[in-house]
């Protein structure tokens, strides 16, 4: 097992190199100059008395300071060398270490992600089971349709509609519009603060989760159906066990296998955060930071986010493989082909 993990990690290294190199190229070769933002132009309107004679010199200085004057391969090598030693550099925007900026937002994104995962699984699995157990029944057909519809709804549309209709003074104001908490809530007692947090997070979590649990339910159903067809289920029924025992005790275990392994792929995506949901609901999370980094051409931050995302994904895939091998006796006992 360890050997397998190590081998996988080793193979990942050239992959990571390729990913970072491609992204590095793409972001650094783009038109637009980050040093421009340092020489006196704030957003939207520019100062009339801003002199520009010295600007060129100053920009050259920043170019040098940030190493932007070196050929791109050298820049990449420097970045790589630093990254390997754990130094992701400082943000162009405010000189703070890039890792700090990312890490301080992880709890926020996680607080949404964790709930999303729980929601997804808790809802998807029972629905999938029932649909499979009562295939072609009204319940099955209805849920298939509903799930299909949910799966096709664009998340940014639903999120916008939620804000327009459910968080708007003009219609229904059930939920707060956006952000993480009401201003001044720091002074409230714990229970009220917690409830305020929950209220703010309900909409983002719901919008985030619905598409996934539609997909998951269908997977669950499909996997369950496969299992039910198997001989040993027929045997169990023939033995006289109740339908409930048959489904829940025998079929469930094996049909859960692919579902659990899916966890390994969902998790990294969620830690990365959703750019769309966080932007629409103004949640100061990791996804929003990534988006802002791109806009601000904050190269060190962009690269750090990318590496983190790739690492998480590979970690997730590894977890999938391991869980799979561990949990599915067929594979554990058969020859591993990787």
């Amino acid at each position: 097992m360890t050997e397998y993990v190590v081998k996988r990690l080793l193979i990942f290294i050239p992959t990571l190199l390729a990913i970072t190199f491609i992204t590095f190229l793409i972001s650094h070769l783009a038109p637009g100059d980050p040093t421009e933002l340092k020489v006196g132009v704030s957003q939207e309107s520019m100062r009339t008395d801003a002199k520009s004679n010295l600007n060129q010199e100053a920009k050259n200085y920043y170019k040098q300071k940030w190493g932007l004057d070196k050929p791109i391969y050298t820049q990449y090598a420097i970045w790589l060398w630093n990254m390997v030693r754990g130094d992701f550099g400082t943000s162009f925007v405010d000189n703070r270490p890039v890792l700090d900026k990312i890490v301080e937002r992880i709890p926020t994104t996680l607080s949404i992600s964790i709930f999303v995962i729980f929601l997804e699984y808790i809802i998807a699995i029972p629905i999938g089971i029932f649909s499979a157990a009562r295939q072609y029944s009204f319940w099955d057909r209805a849920s298939t349709v509903i799930l299909f519809v949910l799966y096709s709804l664009p998340s940014f549309w639903i999120a916008t509609m939620c804000i327009v209709f459910l968080a708007n003074v003009e219609y229904l104001k059930i939920f707060p519009t956006s952000g993480l908490s009401t201003l001044g809530s720091e002074t409230w007692p714990f229970i009220e603060r917690a409830w305020d947090r929950i209220q703010h997070l309900i909409l983002p979590i719901a919008c985030y989760a619905y598409a996934s649990f539609a997909f998951l339910s269908r997977q669950m159903r499909g996997s369950m159906l496969e299992v039910i067809r198997q001989d040993y289920i027929r045997t169990a029924r023939a033995k006289g066990l109740t339908e409930k025992t048959v489904i829940l005790k025998h079929a469930l275990r094996n049909s859960l296998i692919p579902i659990i392994t899916l966890l390994g792929t969902i998790l990294p995506a969620l830690v990365g955060g959703s750019v769309i949901i966080e932007t629409i609901f103004s949640i100061p999370g990791v996804g929003q930071l990534a988006f802002q980094a791109i806009i601000a051409r904050d190269y060190p931050l962009i690269m750090a986010e990318l590496v983190m995302s790739a690492l998480l994904t590979v970690f997730g895939l590894l977890v999938v493989d391991i869980l799979y091998a561990y949990v599915d006796p067929r594979i554990a006992f058969s020859k591993k082909t990787g």
């Binding site: 020489v39 309107s45 801003a50």
Partner: protein
Amino acid sequence: MKTSKLFSTRFLFLALTSITIVLFLSSCGSKRLEDSLIIREMADAEKLNPTVSNDASASEIDSYIYETLSYVDNVTYDLIPYVAELPTESPNHLSYTYNLRKNVKFSDGHELTGEDVIFSLKAIKNLYADDAALRNYFEMIKSAELVNGDKYTVKFNLTKPYWRSMYTLGLFAIMPKHILDPEGLNDKIKFEELENYETAKGNPNIQKYADFLNSPDVSRNPKYVIGSGPYKLQDWKTGQEIRLVRNDNYWYSATIPENPKFIIFKTVNDNSAALVGAKNKDVDAMFVIPPADFYKNLENPDQFALAKAKPVEPTYSYLTYNEKNILFQDKKVRMALAYLVDRNTIIEKILYNDATPIQSHIFYKNTKYLNDQLPPIPYDPEKAKKMLSEAGWKMNDQGVLEKVIDGKKTEFKFTFLSNNNSVRKQIILVVIDAMKKVGIQAGLQDLEWSVYLDKTKKHEFDATYASWQLSVTPEDPYQIWHSSQAEGQGSNIESFINKTSDSLIEAYRVESDEAKRIELLKKWQQLIYDEQPYTFLWSAKSRYIYDTRINNVKWYDKAPSPQYNEWQVPKLLGAVQNPK
């Protein structure tokens, strides 16, 4: 089997609750302070050291912490004495001498003297400091020194006479030398060495000091952010709030008792959350960004004990056409284009009537310097058609205006450049539609801010919508309008080259008599109006709301408009709990 254990309900419940608790505990609480004023900031400041900071939030906050040699009067815009008397100018106009007051102290009790002034100038001129934007203004300021060793008299030397230097010199923040240069590194730096990167290389202290000044700690830690102003920095919670506390050792002690004890700048990125906060009294005053909120959401502000204010901040918007492009080289064409902008309807329908049309580069409230004889250009597509036809443009078969220029058939087609701002986009689309009706085909390209800057600086555009933030100090049109600034990456992005304009500007710059200066500037404004290198659009009003319980709230026509330390928070405020 393992899976059933994983999914046992008990385990799930436990996991869920513990995670919830952990996450919610991560937001700690503090009570609302008594005698405090809470102001909403849209974005957290990045750095609070006045030399290296470059964002609007920081400069607003710093204005309460740091002080300057002179000050611009909030109402008349005249230069008035502050930390020092108004300077005396040398007969050759190459130096200014300031006499400092003798009782000025930093918030830690240390005296403010000419040493601090000279040190601050050296820091600004330090080529490795993160202050390229600020440093530009000091290009003509060569050096500073104490006169006859008197630490209350400072003389600044210029490379060229320039009356505006009085403003530059009078308005830079004075930093405390004993805090920000305890080792006296700047004593080992000479002004000659700060001239350019070549000369600077020889003295390692320059880089050393710059590294110190640029460090995050210097800009964030209250022990370094110290000034002589009425407030000092008490605490900065990144991304959340910056808390200023009243300087009870303020040297201008007459005003102390009236100032609020705390001014808290709270960062709230989201506009709707901020609005809710204002209604709940978690924010006492703020700039309201979306016009829709200001008008629809706050139709009856008094039901929330709020009041609205619409001061005028000196900015203006304009359209400009690149004169390197053949289409726009004829001033008649440019004037015709001005007749295609329906300013009044746009102001009414898109800007909620909160803007004033303008005709000149000079801030319209600056009555001294404004040439008010310039008639507004109305929306008149028929007149525009006529003017274009007179300029030789005829409609072709495709319905597009066409003209033979330099032997080539040229259609009137071009693209507006804009950055990703939705209101700007709407306005440009309205203009494009009006142009289409007379046969001009204009497109629009949205660019991200940095690319947009790049393109406009390099003159790689046809037309654009932009805005300028004017200062309340007298304008110097050189930067934007002089032909020399059309080269390289100057601000004369539309390449407006006009000899008369140049000579007027040059004369204006060296004219030390104010009355004569005003004459020159008015003449210049008339010229610009006739030439129309810009279609001047309007000056928009700002939108503020504030809590009605606060007294002595004044709104000045400058940016930023309010002067928070004048506001008086009723002492009762401490007793007011959150309405919840």
